[in-house]
Amino acid sequence: MLTAQEIAPLLSIADLQIKTSENKPLLHLPQLVVNSGEIHAIIGESGSGKSLTLLSLIGLLTKQLSQTGRISYGAIDNLLALEESQWLLLRGKSIGMVFQEPMTALNPQQTCGKQLFESAKIHGANEHQAKALIQQKFQDLGLHAIQERILSSYPHQLSGGQRQRVMIAMACMHNPPLILADEPTTALDSVSRKAVMDDLYRLCKKQGSALLWVSHELDLVANYADSISVLRRGELLDQGNKQQVIGDVLVATTRNHVPITYPRNEYVQELINALPKDNPGLRQQNFVPESCLLQVLDLVKNYQVQDGNYVAALRQLNLNIHAGETIALVGLSGSGKSTFAKILVGLEKITAGRVLLGGQPLALQPPTGIQMVFQDPYSSLNPNQTARMALMEIFTLVGKKSVMDAIALAHQALIEVGLSDQLLDSWPHELSGGQRQRLCIAKALATQPRVLILDEAVAALDPIVQKQVLELLVNLQKQRNIAYLFVTHNLQVAKSIAHKIVYLENGMLGNLPAAWDSV
């Protein structure tokens, strides 16, 4: 029995096809094999069918989609033929799952302890055993020192890395032979994503679990994966061990070695090229600061809370931005990044200090001459406005242009951000993520701002698109001599585009902590 299991692969997918009810194919996966203890990464952009594969493996695919093929797992002949009651015995016990966003995957109304105990007890452990299980997992994840605090905390009271570790502890609770992870590090900042992936890797190795890991972060994949599948638009492009699929290009660049093997698939090479690098020549070179465009002097922002007390969001913040300069503002969530951005665009009032734009005090009401591009291109466009309507609205109401001028300007604005002006009459849902973000940039530039705040503006985009949008931003900067304030928690992106990186912590600017330097 044991030997048979060792010889046969743990998970074997054969000819898995997922289609919509209108028979439109979403995914075709001819073959995918995961052996016991193996780490298999699935890489691909959004819409490539990565997440569908995982949902299908844990039996959570929506009933509106039809799936055919065969997934054999351990002694189970075909997972697709299982009843819901059989799934309940399997999930958590034999297959664990880690989701992308731990904030939404954990129940905000229950303490982490309650949720951990629930997942421990649901497969038959009593109170005592559950406690031991949780203790064991916390030990493995390096959380044992703060175990009591985490158990009694609600999800929002923990940091992103801690939340994701709680999710991992839940998924690994019963030492399942297979763990599924859906972009487990995408929602984390540069420092914790490596640490969390490290912990997940060690835990899998320790308990001998196989990991099927969906990711688009190639640098992490190159470090941890044993074998890789590459998906694009529902088709399998390449599959094999790490050497075969991505070569040692990534290992080579990080250690200053000349690569020996290269990816055999062009698309993978493209993905590797799109990775943000320390010195890519992406940012404007030889930048000489001229006049100071935006001056922030001793900026203080306090929020009034109940009974007359206040919370300091920003204390004594000083910052100078020059025309044509890009400054990356790095900081963890809650460090005051969004408050600062809101003050600059005129949505929050200043408690004390001064903000000067071109020597003049910043306008108290929007528009202030500072614009903003947001992280999520899906929620930063009005679903009921076409590109033309959105642009015309800004040109006529903010720019006070006549309708005829606004029509011409709208055409120009789209072309300037690299979109065809045939897209003028498309609705946001008809555009891809990259196209939407370009439209958002066009909208922001339509008011001729002198400073543009980019709030994680490329974080939600696929790597290749991300690189294209960054290139566009750099080109626009050259043409318009505009200043960028790039708010991000991704240090790689920050390093690739910014002339200067500032670190915001507890409402004050400081030096980058040592942990960030190693990223």
């Binding site: 665009v345 949505l347 929007p366 999520d376 930063s380 466009l381 609205e393 903010v398 909208k443 922001a444």
Partner: protein
């Protein structure tokens, strides 16, 4: 959207029922056999005739001066001086010939497809004119509840804080007052009639609209496109009406059809209790009430006909709303 609606059977059935009844209501007096105002031609001799009865009559000369009534006016309010009818019984032909010396061509026949009521009025005509009352009240109550609800919901959700607290309290208060109480209260200082019923229905149905719009506004105002609009310095009204309101049109459409149905039911209920439109204006609710006594007798159909009509119309609107809701659900998935 229209493509998907065409495929939805529920919506199509509901839409056809409401469509046909609306056409009947719009044509109104133009197709009613008895086109006198309020279909109120009382003929004592023809009480409680069963459906399908055919009767003969002579058109009597009108006492008042016959003024010309335009077709437009007849369509709108009915004929103010309808023809006078002198009914003739089975063996009456000779008598009447003696009396006034009419030619046989003066004798005309009339068929009562749905019979007559206790005053000898044509039930079919009263049903047709009654559909006008139901649909008018439903429509106006729906529109005014939407206007009021959208206005209050938007302001409450968008401004938040004390405004929201006050308006939410107002919503809760109206939510708790029974509609019948509002109608009775209104009848103290409004003349009993169409307006009173409309105001009462609108006052009790706007609450749900306001709650839904408030919820959706709260949800949408956190979205980044609203923040982008604020950064551009757009006015609050522009953000509410151009950027938030169109995004609620899905749930508003569903709510509008449901409210239409609720308003019709409410009007029927008020009419049945005698709190509604005053006689002789025919309304379906009042017709059920007038004929309720016959339910235990042979001619129970007299109460059942208007009852069935109410059911059909409300069902039509509910089917439409179900079809729309299914469509919205799949869209959100």
């Amino acid at each position: 959207m229209l493509q998907a609606l065409r495929k939805s059977k529920l919506f199509l059935i509901g839409f056809s029922i409401c469509g046909i009844l609306s056409i009947v209501a719009i044509l109104g007096y133009s197709i009613a056999p008895d086109n006198s105002s309020n279909a109120n031609r009382i003929v004592q001799e023809w009480k409680n005739l069963p459906p399908g009865t055919c009767k003969l009559y002579i058109e009597a000369a009108s006492q008042t001066k016959s003024t010309h009534v335009s077709a437009w006016q007849i369509w709108l309010t009915g004929n103010p001086n309808p023809i006078k009818i002198k009914p003739i019984g089975e063996g009456d032909k000779h008598h009447s010939a003696d009396n006034r010396n009419p030619t046989t061509s003066n004798i005309q026949s009339i068929r009562f497809w749905l019979g007559t009521d206790q005053f000898g009025r044509d039930v079919l005509s009263r049903m047709i004119i009654g559909s006008r009352v139901s649909l008018t009240i439903g429509f106006i109550a729906m529109i005014s509840s939407l206007l009021l609800g959208v206005f209050i919901g938007l302001i409450s959700g968008y401004y938040g804080g004390r405004t929201d607290k006050f308006l939410s309290w107002l919503i809760a208060v109206f939510w708790s007052v029974p509609t019948l109480l509002i109608a009775m209260g209104l009848s103290l200082f409004l003349p009993k009639g169409l307006y009173q019923v409309m105001v009462a229905t609108a006052l009790s149905t706007w609450v749900e609209v306001a709650r839904v719009v408030r919820g959706q506004t709260l949800q949408f105002k956190e979205r980044e496109f609203i923040m982008a609009a604020k950064i551009n310095g757009f006015s609050s009204w522009r953000i509410m009406l151009i950027h938030i309101l169109p995004n609620t049109k899905g749930s508003l459409t569903v709510l509008a059809t449901t409210n239409f149905a609720a308003a019709i039911l409410l009007e029927a209920g008020l009419g049945f209790l005698g709190l509604g439109v005053s006689p002789p204006t025919p309304t379906w609710g009042m017709m059920v009430k007038e004929n309720m006594g016959y339910l235990v007798l042979d001619n129970a159909y007299m109460a059942l006909i208007p009852g069935f009509a109410i059911m059909l119309l409300v069902m039509g609107f509910n089917l439409m709303s179900m079809g729309l809701r299914d469509l919205m659900d799949t869209k959100s998935n």
